[in-house]
Amino acid sequence: MTPSILALIVLGLALIGFFVGRQRALLLSSRERVKLHSLPGYYGQALALFITVPALVLLGSWLFIQPALIENHVSAMIPDTAIPQGGAKSLVMADVRRISVGVERLVEQGFVTEGELADMRADFTNVRSRLAEVGVALGSDVEPAVFQAAKSYRSIGNTWSVFRTFAVLITALGFAIWAYLQIKPRMRARNTSETFIKTLLMGSSLVAILTTVGIVGSLLFESIHFFQLYPAKDFFFSATWNPQFRGGSDLGFLPLLWGTFYVSFIALTLAVPIGLMIAIYLAEYAGNSLRNFAKPAIEILAGIPTIVYGLFALITVGPFLRDWVAQPLGLGTSSSSVMTAGLVMGIMLIPFVSSLSDDIINAVPQSLRDGSYGLGATQSETIRLVILPAALPGIVGAFLLAASRAIGETMIVVMGAGAAARLDLNPFEAMTTVTVKIVSQLTGDTEFASPETLVAFALGLTLFVFTLALNVLALYIVRKYREQYE
């Protein structure tokens, strides 16, 4: 039984439980002539909660733990001889998984019966062609040991699924019966179910922490894995990026870092002054009609998905810069370049900077402005000499947040900056960034064994650390500044 149907059954049971619980409470109170402690609905609610929550928690954790346990068990079955020269066990395990999916389909579609399958051996049957019939393509012929492992992978998986179904249903029914017996008119049903709900609310707020733990955990785990295969010194200090899928690649991080910073630098040089000036103009100068038109228009820019900016870079800005700037100046012939990606990213960041600066400028107390005007300063002098210095920490915060956005931005650079890793000063050359390489190393069929794939996790970790540091710093600065005026 698939987990989703199982979950639906549990929810159905809970619905029945609600009405049964409510009915029983009413019945008992009229029979025993005792007033109910809570409204009748709460008895039903408590019963429904006791049915669903433990069963679903069990189901969820089972689904989470099962793959790891089976994996451990099955990978012990694979002898070292079945692992090809230079390959890794995880590659073989990927094959095992794929074969077991194929075998499952063979049985499902009636090509093979369970009995035949038990006798089927890779030495005698051409497993590869049988699996190809059901659309599972394998790279090479199947080793007997691997096929045995795949069969036991499948059978263990199926057995465990049966266990899972029973365990979940028994939990649901067991709690149902227990909670049903608890129902008495004197039971404090409201308090019980409210405590229960409060625990659930607290649990949901933990999802945020779990996500962070998941991100950090998976990045760290696979990065450590990577650094075992590839020396950290070469990764951080080599200036060559040249992945080879046959092995022996150079995975130097410096060209990617340079590309990332170059693109972000151009983007910020465009976005920060313009964004700031927009915020100043709209806050201090613009009349109502202009503000009512310009503010939403610039906010629309903020809501446009980055893929749209990417396409804009690819089909408009890139060819324009190539034909009108780079080629006449003899600077390059590539339509994807650092400049293309930087300019488009700058446009993307303008609304981000301007809305942040807007909040900050509005937070500067009016008394500062009045004081400055009173001393005879013009409006622009007030802005430059009073408001901006007062707002400086906030603006620095906005700048840092924009920088963290720029570093983490993916689609614009994937479509606008190019894929060639190079250390160059010419902004009209194609260069590449950390995010582009994460995408290119992880797109398509990925096996988690080669350093060429795992390097993406190390890149991801670096990216995560960079952006996190920038964000924490920015929030710290902004918070500290806000305390001054409040």
Partner: protein, 452 residues
């Protein structure tokens, strides 16, 4: 604002105590600086707005034409000798006939159309003339025959797609000069197309298939559509809505109403604000490592995309919900508590309904963000070439599918320029969805917003 009180040395020639009505040189300078500053601000605003319109104009000018498609009406004789040699109309037999058998029938049909209208183009063989039609045309015919085997032996009128280059000719992408250099199309074919158009056989009409058809291979851009991508995006949005809304609201209620002021709560709050700023691609890595590699969920499946997008949307929804809860005045809570409601009742019966419009607005905006998100989906395999429509939910959540923004990316990576048009068209579709969603959010806010 005047220099009447300044005691600074004034340049020679200007009287020391100038008239208040005449601006001194220093004042003029300051006013000029003021004017420059102001103009810089205005220029920045104009730049921002120009950028917006430039962006929209570039996308629209490239993409609007994808809503039109050129097709040719051809009467095709479904020859039993070619399609059903056994003559039994047996479906299994019919399925063995490949599209190669259908191509000559179309060629004959087109030749007949040309004869009927007296169209002759010098130096154009019948085979070359038939290449005017899409490579998808035989497949279209085959699908029709398999669906209606009884029609074999009759002459049926079909509206067949024209080749992408012919389509591009009527959209200004291909010209006689470029056709002469192009391996895939010749000027003679374009002349034939013009004559067919005069005869009213070749027409350009609204492209319904763009919204319903699945993706097509590299050589037939004219047949590529967004059907699978729209369904995939829809499935993901359903998952995001079903997971992120309850989780986000529950987490916000806890943090806003119940959480004690301690380190633990601080940790959760810092966590949420940091998650909101984590680059989206990192969520893709998370999805790949945990949902696909560890938990073994299938690649390219909407369920994985939905889960990843849920985690990304959660901070947005939590932040919006907390703001909405905060804006409900404490007097409402006090009144509820005062007449004997429990804390939980006061929240679920009074505060939450009052905060609902704000929560919904935040949720829709979060969904709109999730709909446009591309980078994480690339990593979990949504770039795969998917032609089959996923099944109905819930099984369909585990079938391979595409997503709207990823489809755009996918099309930009292909060689044929017709795909750029399709990609821009897909962007327009995406933007329309986003505008509708944001419009609903704004309407909700206007309609239900309450000031206390």
């Amino acid at each position: 604002m005047t220099n009447a009180t300044t005691r600074l040395p004034t340049p020679a020639g200007v009287p020391k105590s100038g008239s208040l009505l005449v601006r001194g040189r220093r004042t003029q300078k300051r006013h000029a600086a003021e004017f420059r500053f102001r103009m810089m601000g205005l220029a920045a605003v104009v730049f921002g707005i120009t950028a917006l319109f430039g962006l929209l104009a570039a996308i629209l000018s490239n993409g609007l034409s994808s809503f039109q498609q050129t097709s040719v009406v051809v009467d095709v004789f479904l020859d039993p000798a070619k399609l059903d040699k056994g003559g039994k109309r047996d479906l299994e037999e019919l399925q063995k006939v490949t599209t190669f058998a259908y191509a000559p029938l179309i060629q004959n049909g087109l030749t007949k159309v040309m004869e009927d209208h007296g169209i002759v183009v010098d130096g154009l063989s019948d085979k070359k003339a038939a290449e005017l039609l899409s490579k998808e045309a035989p497949a279209q015919l085959r699908r029709y025959v398999l669906a209606n085997p009884a029609k074999i032996g009759e002459t049926v009128s079909f509206s067949l797609l024209a080749n992408g280059r012919i389509d591009g000719y009527y959209k200004g992408r291909v010209s006689m000069e470029s056709a002469a250099l192009d391996r895939n199309v010749s000027p003679e074919q374009l002349m034939l197309a013009d004559k067919l158009k005069e005869a009213g056989v070749l027409t350009t009409s609204f492209n319904v298939a763009f919204f319903t058809a699945p993706d097509a291979s590299d050589t037939r851009p004219e047949a590529a559509g967004l059907g699978v991508a729209i369904i995939g995006s829809l499935y993901m949005m359903i998952i995001v809505l079903c997971l992120a809304l309850p989780l986000g609201v529950a987490a916000s209620i806890y943090l806003e109403e119940f959480a004690p002021q301690n380190k633990w709560t601080d940790l959760i709050e810092v966590n949420i604000s940091n998650l909101a700023a984590v680059p989206s691609i990192v969520f893709g890595i998370l999805g790949l490592a945990i949902f696909i590699n560890y938990a073994g969920l299938p690649q390219s499946a909407p369920v994985v995309g939905g889960l990843v997008l849920t985690l990304m949307t959660l901070p947005t929804i939590i932040i919006a919900t907390r703001a909405a809860l905060k804006s409900v005045p404490p007097s409402i809570r006090d009144a509820a508590l005062g007449i004997g409601a429990s804390k939980m009742q006061s929240i679920f019966h009074h505060v939450l309904p009052l905060a609902a419009p704000g929560i919904l607005t935040g949720t829709i905006i979060g969904l709109a963000q999730a709909l446009g998100e591309t980078a994480p989906l690339l990593l979990i395999g949504m770039v795969a070439f998917v032609r089959e429509f996923p099944a109905a939910p819930p099984e369909g959540f585990f079938d391979p599918a595409a997503a709207l923004p990823v489809q755009v990316y996918n099309w930009t990576q292909r060689g044929d320029p017709a795909f750029v048009e399709r990609a821009s068209g897909a962007i327009i579709v995406l933007l329309i969805f986003l505008i509708v969603m944001n419009g609903i959010a704004i309407l909700l806010r206007r309609r239900f917003e309450r000031r206390w």
